[in-house]
Amino acid sequence: MALLIISGCKKSSFVSDFDQKPEERIAESIASVTNTLTSAPNGWIATLPTNAGGAYGFYMTFDANQNVTMYADLNDNTAKTLGKSTFRVKAVLGTELIFDTYNYISMLADPNNSVFGGAGNTGFKSDVEFIYVRSTADSIFFVGKAYRQTLAMVKATAVQKAAYTAEGLKTSADKLKSFFATTQNPYIEVISGSTTIKAGLSVNFTNVLASGKRTTLTGILADGTTVVSATNKIALTTDGISMTSGGLVFQGVTLVKFAWKDATTLAMYDAAGKEYIIKSSPVPLTPLPLLFGFPSSYTYRKITISSAGLPTGVSSGFTAVYNSMVSKFAATNRSISSTTFTLTSNSVFEVAVNYISNNSAFVASATYGYTRNGDVITLDNNPVGNVNWPTRATEIKPLADYMLTGPFRIDWVTSTIPNVGSLGGLYRTADASSFIYGTL
């Protein structure tokens, strides 16, 4: 039998692992953050991604009376009109910067969907309370309390401050939007291993929650078929565009910003400072056959000739065929509203002519079986028409005959008119100058 009692009673005083009490350390942190924010002589350029939407860029100044002013790239008004409100730096979950009265940054978080287009009464899932993370000589970083997005702020120069104050953010945004509106199929060249990838570039300047304020690079690998893409949320500044969350990582390259090399040349830059000039391609970089197909993984499966008629600026042997059909319909007092060419399944191809007869809408359509080999579609030349296909046989004949002159190769169509949009075509393999064409 063993009786073992070990007891001890030892009184000791509390020994902290820190050299200061918590309230002293917090007070120092608050003072330090406040001082950093308010002593930047030319204010701060800030970027903030949102959880549910894209990212946004700001120019902010903080004063010792807890006033904050800002410009923001939310819309034209916020870019050129100074927004004024208040801020606090206080101890909550650590040292926090709180934008405690309403300003542009609050619009991203506004639960009222009609204010800025948020959804589900949670806005863009953004914060007005930010927890201090760290600072460097010229930057300070916070993270949103609820949605954990990084509010990254860099000290502005006097030149940048002057630009923002003179509606520079709106000017910059306008110039960028104009560049992308007039540059067809922009791309950059990225070296990956031993190949140079031409990566197509898209920039969405809208505020649509799911797709806005984002940029995407899409390219094809050396094998010719693998499509790779990367997206980043972007903020606009007076100097160009800033990526967020570390940058846009594409094939091992981290792109961090867009900036103007000169008055008309826009380039992307990676973390090492290497420059990637944005070039223009007459046709989209990705071959259309990789994007055109029935399965849901394909972007397009239909070519449409709309009520506006054939797209302009295109020269094709099909044009006369189509116009002939239009005249024949017109001769019977009917008008064509649209014509579509659609892959309705992995083996069925449909041609549909929508027309108006006596103020009522009708459709004459026919389905063909098809097989696909790479970029070539071969129809079975055995159309099965709907009730109107034989009725309108005379009028449709030019088109119906043309459909029997396949096989057809899928490819892009270019127009001499810029901004016509993405045009797709079905080229007769026997005669590449003759092709069906319309919008995708």
């Binding site: 009692i5 007891s7 030892k10 009490k21 309230e23 609050s106 309370e129």
Partner: protein
């Protein structure tokens, strides 16, 4: 075999000064000064408009307030809520009962069903007002809706300090329901509730009934009761009585006086259309106005000399008809529609028999502005009151001349009437000459 291992180790607690965590925002803007002198200094009320996470539910995304709307919003709290209570209940009551913290948020607080909270009250101490950024001082509906919510929330606070009357919850006990969002307004009314939300539970019912009586007014309440079922109307009137008793007896706050103060602000400052007298004439709530100048109300509240002269002239003229000394007792204006009215005379002959006489009047009436014009009409019938009218036509003529001789504006009046009579009297004044007016007891039942 037993092993015991014990140890105790006493530690000094770290002495940490939590007061150093208190955060005091710099408060020296014009707005902050106004809040200090208007709310903090006189009533010890703190108005917190700078966003803090702590005053709201964790699961709700709420925006900070736009400072530009803080003063207008708090101005309505001052004039529509604090001042009436101050005037009727006194400053000690305010300091003891009124919420000490007013927290303001810019957006609404959205619930999972998409509905939006306008205000909440908690712990007898704090009222939180939401949706400040949509405040529009020119939108009477919006302003009074918010004011109604504030009164509703304060009623909860009062109930937390002085319990609700126990009999209240028995009045419509069987129809309280948790699924009140599915109850239509008409059903709620027919069951004896001021709103569907009131039918959720007795506590909400009490707060809703109180706030509707105060802010939407007695006419609104009576109209709702009249439109309800017999059971519903009885329930609504019983709830009204319970609320009046709670305030007047349990709290020592004269409810009718309070109602009057709030109504004065709602009518005259916010000009809520549905709080105006002409609105309710247009709705057919008030079927008639009885004017008997011998009643004490005219001695205490006065009557214009123009009208009393016309009235007296008719008294004299009625007596003079055929020298028969008939005595005019009182008159009544009956509203048949917004385009037709009858002038009714009640008179007694020397034998002691009482008779009715009816005179037809045509009306043009604007239920928004109250603009009214009477013109003489043709008899509507050949029954006795109409034939009597012909008999004493010369007697009624001074009154007919008075009524048809001017453009009138319909309004609540007189302004100086006693609190007991405040909801029951209304009348007309000559447009542009407010010193020329007449008024009487309002009736909701056609006679």
């Amino acid at each position: 075999m037993f092993i015991t291992i014990q140890s105790c180790k006493k530690e000094d607690s770290a002495s940490i000064d939590l007061t150093k965590y208190v955060d005091n925002p710099v408060a020296n803007t014009t707005l902050d000064s106004w809040l200090k002198t208007t709310f903090l200094d006189p009533y010890n009320m703190d108005v917190i408009y700078r966003y803090s996470d702590f005053y709201k539910d964790n699961d709700k995304v709420v925006s900070p307030a736009n400072p530009a709307n803080v003063q207008p919003q708090m101005q309505t709290v001052l004039e529509g809520f604090i001042d009436p209570y101050k005037k009727v209940a006194g400053i000690p009551f305010i300091k003891k009962m009124l919420p000490k913290e007013w927290v303001l948020y810019g957006s609404g607080a959205y619930q999972t069903d998409g509905s939006m909270i306008l205000a909440t009250a908690s712990a007898g101490k704090r009222v939180t007002i939401y949706d400040l950024n949509n405040f529009d001082a020119n939108n009477a509906d919006g302003v009074t809706r918010k004011l109604r919510t504030i009164h509703h929330e304060f009623t909860h606070i009062l109930n937390q300090l002085v319990a609700m009357p126990t009999d209240f919850q028995t009045i419509t006990k069987s129809t309280y329901t948790a699924t009140w969002t599915t109850v239509s307004d008409a059903t709620a009314r027919d069951n004896g509730y001021v709103s569907p939300y009131a039918s959720s539970q007795p506590g909400e019912d009490f707060a809703e009934t109180t706030s509707h009586l105060l802010v939407l007014g007695q006419a609104w309440f009576d109209a709702r009761a009249n439109a309800s079922t017999t059971v519903g109307k009885a329930a609504l009137k019983a709830k009204e009585a319970s609320v009046v008793q709670y305030f007047t007896i349990n709290l020592g706050v004269d409810f009718r006086a309070l109602q009057r103060e709030v109504q004065n602000v709602v009518r005259n400052t916010y000009k809520l259309p549905s709080a105006s007298f002409p609105y309710w004439i247009g709705q057919g709530l008030f079927k008639n106005i009885t004017i008997d100048l011998s009643k004490p109300v005219y001695a205490s509240s006065g009557i214009s000399t123009n009208f009393s002269a016309a009235y007296q002239a008719s008294v004299t003229a009625v007596a003079a008809v055929g020298n028969a000394n008939r005595k005019l007792n009182y008159i009544r204006l009956d509203f048949i529609s917004t385009t037709a009215a009858n002038l009714y005379l009640n008179y007694t002959n020397t034998a002691g028999s009482t008779f009715d006489a009816l005179y037809a009047l045509n009306m043009t009436f604007n239920s928004t502005t109250g603009a009214t014009k009477f013109t003489a009409g043709t008899p509507r019938d050949t029954t006795t009151p109409w034939t009597n009218a012909t008999v004493i036509q010369a007697g009624v003529q001074p009154l007919i001349n008075y009524l048809t001789g001017s453009n009138f504006i319909a309004d609540w009046m007189p302004a100086n009437i006693s609190t007991d009579n405040y909801n029951s009297y209304g009348g007309f004044y000559v447009s542009g000459t407010p010193s020329n007016y007449f008024y009487g007891l309002l009736g909701q039942t056609a006679l």
